[in-house]
């Protein structure tokens, strides 16, 4: 694919998603005022017609759909999505308050799943074929088959309820202000531990599988055989030769996984009532909070696209074979 073509694809995807971002929330039945009006089991509020009209006009919901669309397009360029209905604060502020928590959890989970996935994958390939390889393989498939919220609920019940080692939820102890940063960081980590483990468990298997299969394939390559014939030890062979060349295709997978994890944090954050953007997205959908949905969808889109571009950019630089192939195509 030529560079121009690639750029064109990305711009096309972005445009399509931008259109979708506007229309998708509005395809859901019911609107934000419907949500504000009725409030489930605590319902007891009587918005008068005057109050309702004021709300509608304040949020430009009585404008025509096209006017709202124009307003939305404008907001894309200014990054000013307006006020969240739910929090009555600028969308950017609402998201900014929660994004760091999600980045912490997603970052931690990415790190753990990569390190553990690669290590276990390599170990599995080393022991292939054998009983421990098969055991790891089945174990990983099992873990990946269990839905994330179930894993979350399970570790929550064990670690927080049964044994009481870790907190039930939230990102930090409320109004906890120790003098120094160390206990504060420990508190944050204690709260983040279970969400990170849950999210990592869900992403471990795919990295493991790829690493294992690649490593097994690479092991059969002539250059490895040659290295073995040279008398290089098993361990060094695995780490220096097999691991290096097998991990190359993993770069793409890992990059895409990170993007996906951001969206995948919805379930995990809900289980642990963790105040990140995943939980925010859930709230925003339930409340039909259009401005907040616009902001969140755009953020996630940009995130995924960014990591895709990064993978596209990085890969040829890591693997010279692809670079030459591309050049050849261009000539």
């Amino acid at each position: 694919m030529s560079k121009a073509k690639q750029t064109f694809t990305y711009v096309g995807v972005l445009l399509f998603v931008i259109l979708l971002n506007f229309w998708l929330p509005r395809l859901l039945r019911g609107g934000p005022i419907d949500y504000l009006n009725g409030s489930g089991n605590d319902g007891g509020i009587f918005l008068s017609e005057a109050q309702k009209t004021a709300l509608l006009s304040y949020y430009h919901l009585n404008d025509s759909l096209w006017m709202q669309f124009v307003e939305y397009l404008r907001s894309l360029f200014t990054f000013d999505f307006g006020l969240s209905f739910l929090y009555k604060a600028p969308v950017a502020d609402v998201i900014a308050a929660r994004l760091p928590w999600t980045l912490l959890v997603v970052g931690g989970a990415t790190l753990i799943s990569i390190v553990a996935g690669l290590a276990i994958g390599l170990l599995s390939a080393w022991r292939h074929p054998g009983r421990s390889d098969r055991g790891l393989f089945v174990a990983m498939l099992t873990v990946s088959a269990v839905p994330e919220f179930l894993v979350g609920t399970l570790v929550l019940i064990l670690f927080a309820v049964q044994w009481g080692w870790l907190p039930l939820g939230g990102a930090k102890t409320a109004f906890y202000h120790p003098g120094s940063w160390l206990p504060q960081a420990a508190d944050v980590l204690r709260h983040a531990a279970l969400p990170i483990v849950t999210l990592a468990a869900g992403n471990l298997a795919s990295i493991y599988l790829l690493m294992r299969n690649e490593a097994i394939r690479v092991r059969r390559e002539p250059f490895v055989e040659f290295a073995a014939a040279k008398g290089i030890g098993d361990k060094a062979l695995m780490l220096r030769h097999v691991a290096r060349s097998a991990s190359l295709p993993l770069v793409t997978v890992i990059m895409m996984r990170i993007g996906g994890m951001l969206a995948g944090s919805v379930l995990t954050e809900t289980v642990f009532s963790y105040p990140g953007i995943g939980k925010l997205l859930q709230e925003a959908i339930l409340a039909r909070d259009y401005p907040l949905l616009h902001g969140l969808f755009l953020l996630m889109t940009l995130f995924v696209l960014f990591f895709n571009i990064a993978a596209d950019w990085l890969y040829p630089r890591l693997d010279p074979r692809i670079r030459t192939a591309k050049k050849g195509e261009m000539q």
């Binding site: 859901l28 419907d34 009006n37 605590d42 509020i45 017609e49 604060a89 339930l286």
Partner: protein, 546 residues
């Protein structure tokens, strides 16, 4: 479980035996049958709460937004209650009913149209500025342009004027009986010197946005986590603030948070949780009056349901007593056909009721022409019920209606979809839950005359019954409590006969708390403000001087 119960009851028996023994021995010693004046252990544990100040109470509740009068979350009562800690109203409520608050006293003109309020003197805003009549006038004018985020029908007021620093006059368009409780008891007074320069109050987050006269100031609000910390206002005009700090913590599961000692008090309506927590040593208050209803709203435009005989037949077919027993436990309160909970002072004890009578239901259905086919199903009658969350009521209903040959289809949707369907009248029956039913009965007018835009009250759809509409209007304007009560009784008669809605049961709320942390809670008469049956009434945390 059984084993444990046995052990437990054995210990209880042992304790009783020991108490009896010791009582006998001490009784013989003192020689009098009078109960000992010595405080019991539990009372002594509560003593610090009754006497000195309490440093901190932690309550469980979800995030309710930034607590300014324009920005708090209006879904659910929490936003309003958080706001009421910071801002005061002219009147308020305690366990006896409406009491003076920012207004010391008031008089009503003979024509019932002019209220004159005498304001408290020497009240200061949190920033030290004096509170005056001008602030009251300003507030009501400001709300005309920028509506308050909760209830309170400002349009009833023709004008508000100040006469001097401490006197305010409200002129009404017409007599309005719920004025003291449901209007000036709800709408908070805001400082003129802050808001007069604010054009966009919803977005306003200035440092002075939360300057009120209330018993608490906001120390910290963690918006992402939904945690609040309120600290006492040491210069509160209404009396000494006993509880120095109140935190609201957003937790996922109230019962679990109580058990784990994350909070000191929490609300629940799960009777199983209540029993469990009571066993673990927590104290419990039950809402009284109940103040809530879980009900079926009938779509009165539905071709079949518009016939009241069908609605009545459904009422006879539903064993609401057993449903209430199953779903609420404790002492179940079967729904009043006249809507108002049976422990409310406005309840009409002579109103028509529909006791479970499946034979009568079947006879009525046959008479209406919905005959059973060979399989015992009435094919001519297929109804659906719309629910917004996991509703055990609908499942019980489905079973009960099956017995009289009606197939009920349950449609479960999320709450925004639910409200849209209600607003557009695209449903047969819907199950909704409400609070606020023990406050002023004017809600009956708002529900059924389509004045409230609340979708749960079937927005924009009036209950087309001329007699009811007249009664509803006249009760609102009737200032004589006894006469008004008679009118409200008549309204209940109409509702019970016509059944535009069928209340399944009145759901009690429970407050589970630790007595040794604080024990000053009470049930607010008629519910806080517009009938909120909860316990975080700010008057409970202040030594109120009248």
């Amino acid at each position: 479980m059984f084993q444990r119960n046995k052990v437990y009851s054995f210990i209880v028996l042992l304790c009783i035996a020991m108490t009896v023994l010791s009582a006998c021995s001490s009784g013989s010693g003192s020689g009098s049958g009078k109960p000992s004046a010595e405080p019991s252990p539990s009372a002594s544990a509560a003593a610090p709460a009754a006497g000195g100040d309490v440093p901190l109470i932690r309550f469980a509740w979800a995030n309710a937004g930034y607590p300014s009068p324009f920005a708090f979350s209006a879904s659910g009562p929490a936003g309003f209650l958080r706001n009421s800690f910071l801002f005061d109203t002219l009147t308020w409520k305690d366990d006896q009913g409406v009491i003076p608050w920012l207004a010391k006293s008031w008089t009503l003109s003979d024509d019932g149209l002019t209220y004159t309020f005498e304001l408290e003197q020497g009240v200061t805003w949190h920033d030290g500025q004096p509170f005056t009549a001008e602030d009251v006038v300003f507030s009501f004018n400001y709300y005309k342009e920028h509506p308050f985020n909760w209830t309170g029908d400002i349009s009833r007021i023709e004008s508000v004027t100040a006469s001097g620093d401490n006197q305010v006059q409200f002129k009404l368009n017409e007599a309005y009986a719920p004025f003291l409780s449901d209007l000036v008891g709800i709408v908070p007074i805001i400082p003129k010197h802050v808001w007069e320069s604010v054009d966009n109050p919803i977005e306003y987050r200035g440092e002075d946005a939360l300057v009120g006269t209330g018993p608490y100031k906001l120390k910290e609000y963690d918006e992402a986590g939904g945690q609040y910390s309120f600290v006492a206002n040491d210069h509160y005009f209404k009396g000494h603030v006993k509880v120095k700090e109140i935190q609201y913590l957003s937790v996922d599961n109230n019962a679990m948070a109580l058990k784990n000692n994350n909070v000191d008090g929490a609300m629940t309506y799960n009777y199983g949780d209540v029993q469990q927590l009571q066993k673990e040593g927590f104290d419990v208050i039950k809402s009284n009056p109940t103040g809530s209803a879980v009900r079926i709203t009938f779509n009165l435009d539905h071709p079949q349901l518009k016939d009241k005989r069908l609605r009545q037949a459904l009422a006879y077919a539903l064993d609401r007593a057993s449903m209430a027993q199953k779903l609420t436990g404790g002492d179940p309160m079967v729904g009043n056909a006249g809507v108002i909970p049976t422990d409310s002072p406005w309840y009409n004890p002579d109103v028509k009721q529909y006791n479970y009578d499946p034979a009568k239901a079947e006879a009525m259905l046959d008479e209406l022409g919905y005959t059973k086919n060979a399989n015992g199903v009435r094919d001519g009658l297929k109804l659906s019920v719309l629910v917004s969350s996991n509703s055990p009521e609908s499942q019980v209903m489905q079973e009960m209606l099956k017995k009289v040959g009606i197939e009920l289809n349950i449609q479960q949707v999320d709450s925004a979809t639910f409200n849209a369907a209600m607003g557009e009248n695209k449903y047969d029956m819907a199950i909704t839950g409400h609070i606020g039913l023990s406050g002023d009965p004017d809600y009956l007018r708002q529900w059924f005359l389509g004045n409230a835009s609340n979708t749960l009250a079937a927005r924009g759809k009036a209950f087309a019954n001329e007699q009811f509409q007249q009664l509803a209007e006249s009760q609102m304007k009737e200032l004589d409590p006894d006469k008004r009560k008679q009118t409200v009784f008549q309204m209940q008669d109409v509702l019970a006969e016509e059944l535009p809605t069928l209340v399944l049961y009145h759901r009690p709320f429970y407050f589970v708390y630790k007595k040794d942390v604080y024990d000053g809670y009470f049930n607010t008469y008629g519910g806080i403000a517009d009938g909120i049956p909860l316990w975080d009434n700010k008057a409970a945390f202040v030594d109120v001087q009248s």
